[in-house]
């Protein structure tokens, strides 16, 4: 166990050092790269704490998507921060002392880390999720079965959140939703990364594999880490890579704007219709047992698959639309 403790302490140490450095760095590009490092090391910590699905998602989202978005924004705005005036530090110190104090107070009665008899572990749902799910649903990855069946309503909410973000970014940044219209303006220095042969060839080679991997993650999510959300992010990442190298116009030729825009509502509609189907077949909203009459386990399987697919579609659409909204914004003078 001391190996575990050692790794734990090392990773936390890196995280703390990174966080403090981010605070003190005024150069924002560097701060963004350190944030990516922070997310990556947290993903490693998640693996250490057995949260493999979470680590996968954090790596794809926190290190991948977030970093690209921050860098894109820094390219459009200023990349150095002014010095923080002293006076701002005092309210921050007060809040941090109060909140931190409250947390340390709380830690005295928190259950043992790694304990097997903590309230979380002995609650009846543990048995349902880990053992009964094998009979009721039959999917080895219990995170997927909890996410897509037991707590499918939360996942619907999560999908609506990402949909909201997509709509909001389009509302704020996109000029007009008409197909084929020229957008706000190309960046003055249209990315000339495509001039580099290595980048051009490799990104074209990689794109189909990335998309294939996305489908693999989607379908394999029942047996290993993975699922709809990670799949959608990876799918979008393929087009983001293509867009970074070949420019927004190039990416638009591969994934036309109307198609990307159509993916966004499609996933949510599919999810809601699936839920309503469960209702119409005699169960409650999002009850998948009726999907295959006579075989509730197969019905759950089908329901979970459709849930993951719809999540993947909307997430991919939103990520692509968000990236292109930022990328096609004309850089300010």
């Amino acid at each position: 166990m001391s190996m575990f403790v050692l790794m734990n302490l090392t990773l936390f140490g890196i995280l703390a050092a990174t966080a403090v450095t981010i605070s003190r760095l005024r150069a924002l590009y560097e701060a963004t790269m350190l944030t990516a490092l922070f997310s990556l090391v947290s993903a490693s910590l998640f693996v250490l704490m057995d949260a493999v699905d979470v680590a996968f998602t954090e790596a794809a989202v926190g290190v991948g998507i977030s970093t690209v978005l921050f860098l894109g924004v820094l390219a459009l705005t200023r990349s150095r921060e002014d010095v923080t005036p002293r006076i701002r530090q005092w309210p921050a110190r007060v809040v941090v002392l109060l909140a931190g104090g409250m947390l340390v107070y709380a830690s005295q009665d928190l259950p043992r880390f790694e304990g097997a008899t903590t309230p979380v572990q002995v609650h009846p749902v543990t048995d349902v999720y880990l053992r009964e799910s094998q009979d009721d649903i039959g999917v080895p990855n219990t995170v997927t079965s909890v996410l897509a069946s037991y707590r499918a309503h939360d996942t619907l909410g999560e999908l609506v959140v990402i949909f909201t973000a997509g709509v909001a970014v389009l509302l704020l940044l996109a000029s007009s939703p008409g197909p084929g219209r020229r957008e706000e303006g190309e960046g003055p220095a249209e990315l000339v990364l495509a001039d580099y042969r290595v980048l051009r060839v490799i990104s074209k080679l990689l794109l189909p594999f990335i998309l294939l991997f996305a489908f693999y993650v989607l379908f394999h999510g029942e047996y290993g880490p993975g699922g709809g959300f990670q799949a959608g992010v990876i799918f979008a990442a393929g087009f983001v890579l293509y867009g970074l190298v070949f420019g927004v116009d190039g990416a638009r030729r591969v994934l036309p704007r109307p198609l990307a825009w159509a993916m966004i509502p499609l996933g949510i509609l599919l999810y809601v219709v699936l839920g309503l189907a469960g209702m119409l077949l005699g169960g409650e909203f999002l009850d998948f047992q009726g999907l295959r009459p006579g075989d509730p386990q197969a019905g759950q399987h089908l329901g979970i698959l459709l849930v993951e697919t719809s999540v993947g579609i909307t997430v991919a659409g939103v990520m692509v639309a968000v990236f292109f909204s930022f990328a096609s914004r004309r850089a300010a003078r």
Binding site: M102, L103, Y105, A106, S107, Q108, D109, L110, P111, T118, P119, V120, Q121, V122, H123, P124, V125, T126, Y129, S149, Y150, R151, A152, H153, D154, L156, G157, E158, V160, V161, F163, T164, A165, V167, A168, L170, L171, L172, S175, S176, P177, G178, W261, A262, I264, P265, L266, I268, L269, V272, G275, L276, G278, M279, E284, F285, L286, D287, F288, Q289
Partner: protein, 493 residues
Amino acid sequence: MTAELPALQVVIPLLCAPLCLLFRSRTAAWLMFLLAALASLGCAVLMAGQVAGGDMLRYEMGGWEPPVGIEYVIAGFNVPLLLLVSTIAVVVAVYGRRSLESEISSSRIPLLYACLCLNLTGLLGIVSTGDVFNAFVFLEIASLSSYALIAMGKGRRALLAAFQYLVIGTVGAVFILIGVGLTYAVTGSLNMADLAARLPDAYGNRALTAGAVFVFVGFAVKMAVFPLHGWLPDAYAEAPSAVSTFLAATGTKVAIYAFMRFAFTVFGAALVFERLPLDRIGLSLASLAMLVGAAAACFQTDLKYLLAWSSVAHVGYIVAGYSLATVDGVQASYLHLINHAVIKGSLFAAAGILMLRLGSVRLEALSGLGRTMPWTFGAIAVAGLGLVGVPLTAGFVSKWALATALIDEGQGLVLAAMLVSSLLAVVYTGRIIEIGWFREPSGSTAAAGTTPVSMGVATWALVLASLYFGVDPRLPASLADAAASALLGPGGG
């Protein structure tokens, strides 16, 4: 079908949001929002009938029994809010068509209606759910859509207002997440009824206490209770008129409901009001909110900022009511929640009419309004009297209920703050009336065109409602009564 109402309440507005995006035309998007609002009103009315006798509707999402799955709980404590939110949505849908067309560029209108549908979904979800994490998720749906809606206001200040609301709102949401996490660590459960059953055994637990504090601070941010009210004036004032109307009447109210739900039916009044001194803290902060909000309103030069600061004061009234932790206090609180939503909604709607006709809502532009736009001025005046609490208005009924509840508990200082705040309300309402009635119309901002019928009807519908509830308060009072007894009674979860 009637058994599925709790789910449909949230699913129908949710379904309308992507449809707004698919249909792309302004009229279709508006129809989708109107449909979402009408459908949710229908569901709310039907469910109100079902729970009228003190029953509780429980709906298991996915067919899984709680706490394995997520459940929706509809009872006396949330049905009034479902009715309120969906009614306001219908009014805003009618009102908003012309208002938004004049304030937002036409290509963005379908996306904006999608955001309105999403905001409605989020609010209804927070109110209906029986799972604490599900409440967090729907809270974020409502919050994210409101950041986007606020940012669509005219002028660049709307962008900054939305960003500052985003930062503090997200910190608040993360505080709620921390609180839920600490509670989860102590009990292993996320279901409100299950928590209510398990928590009394854990009352001395310090992590639980800290968790409760974090949850309440988080909701305090969303409610804009003093001193966490900083985001509200800019956000409400800079947003498009229809958005201000909707948010002012629903946003903080739903957050207040969530606070009460968590305080009374999850953590339990015994923990929150007896072990933690939340009653004293609540009353003190409420008094400060009443005074600061009303005082700041007196100094404003812009009508919407004035109304926003007045909202800060009124949140104080509502918080004072339930901090008493008595049935009368909670009933007064709930009653004022409903009445204030109607009154403030009508005022922001009237401000939107002014924005359309005059192009400005600065107080100086209102000179002589009584002569140039008598109907709108009349609406503002009548609703303003409701804010003060003049007899025959809804404001009087709820302030009276609050005052009696405070007297019963011997809270003289809070009562004094309430009276001072009401006097200040006379000052700022009086200012508006004085400018509108006793001054000559200034030539620079002449009223252009005519008020659209939809906007006028919607505004006056709310004003008349506030008058009706002032004269015959049986409907809101009985709803508030049922809510209070459901919250404080046994088996509230």
